[in-house]
Symmetry: C2
Subunit: 188 residues, 2 copies
DNA sequence: GTCTATAAAGAGATAGAC
DNA sequence: GTCTATCTCTTTATAGAC
């Protein structure tokens, strides 16, 4: 145990992180089924057996790679709400986190990804519903959530030409009144 | 060649149709990768080799099973447009055609399904854009399309609780102003 | 025409050498 | 600790018996 950076643990941590990064990228691009342990290992420049050694199974590797950050806190009014949702359209550089993309890519075909998606979307619905008045707040919140889901799927995963080439602000500008309508507020 | 229903051709046609039906159901539920020729054959009560004999490959079977009806013609005003879109929310009985569901289930993970989805959505965008005025008609049409996509994915494929339990008319009622806003019309 | 048997390929996972 | 080699399983697809 030298008291410089301990090469053992530190190197291991970095290798794990490199593998996870490669896994995120491949899962996000290809989905669970078409991504192989071998391909992840190749991309991370390690031996396939090492991936298994570190993560135990492909399933577990996916579980860690597709982990998604919890949505930011709630307690906003309707205007702030819409602004925040539109802000998540960070088409800009890194787009969505690779982890979220990995989860979304497989959410229609992989049971565990589907469960994760339902949970994340459910939390977003809870969060939005808390800021919307009325009996139908939950349904409105669910619709706002799937509207954003549709835009994200169309843009990031299907890469529809019309959305890919439009500036983010333009999309946000057109979407804002549409989301506002779902909050049940009158047009201000 | 008797001149009653020729048993040969007719029986073959029916068997093909039974296989296609089973394939649609399984592809719609599980997606391309997790659906096996064996499972399709079992569901259709035929021999796996027969499926291959009739359709040549799993790819070709999917191509036929995931064929989707072309969208109905255009030429409507904005109001009719929104009404028509909301009408396609046929949550009622058969939901969407099994073929469309099969295509959508795999659109994020199967290259051919993705291409088919882009084509179908592209045609819908064309159709909608023709009825919307303004320079940004195509972007507006694309947003309307992905909004409906998000609702359908959330409802039919992810089966989000809030959408599953809501009556179709309620969803349509809340969604209408939101879609209207995307057409660029003033609220009437 | 229909099915049995099998070929061929690719995957995840594991045991043991170094 | 890392990798070589392999095991085992499952799949699509095919060839040939009946």
């Amino acid at each position: 145990m030298s008291d410089r950076l301990p090469p053992r643990a530190e190197r291991r941590r970095r290798t794990e992180e490199r593998i996870l990064g490669a896994a995120r990228a491949l899962f996000a691009e290809l989905g669970f089924e078409r991504t192989t342990i071998r391909a992840v290992a190749r991309a991370a420049e390690v031996d396939p057996a090492l991936v298994m050694q570190y993560f135990g199974s492909k399933q577990e590797l996916f579980r860690l790679a597709a982990r998604v950050a919890p949505p930011p806190a709630a307690g906003l009014d309707a205007d702030e709400l819409v602004g925040h949702l539109l802000g998540t359209l960070d088409t800009k550089i890194g787009a969505l986190s690779q982890g979220s993309l990995a989860m979304m890519r497989s959410m229609l075909t992989h049971p565990e990804a589907a469960a994760a998606a339902r949970e994340v979307l459910g939390r977003q619905i809870d969060s939005l519903a808390a800021s919307i008045p009325g009996d139908d707040a939950r349904l409105r919140a669910a619709l706002m959530t799937v509207v954003m889901l549709g835009v994200t799927v169309g843009h990031q995963l299907l890469e529809l030409e019309e959305l890919r080439t439009a500036p983010q602000e333009e999309i946000a500008r057109l979407l804002r009144p549409s989301l506002r309508a779902l909050t049940g507020q009158e047009v201000s």
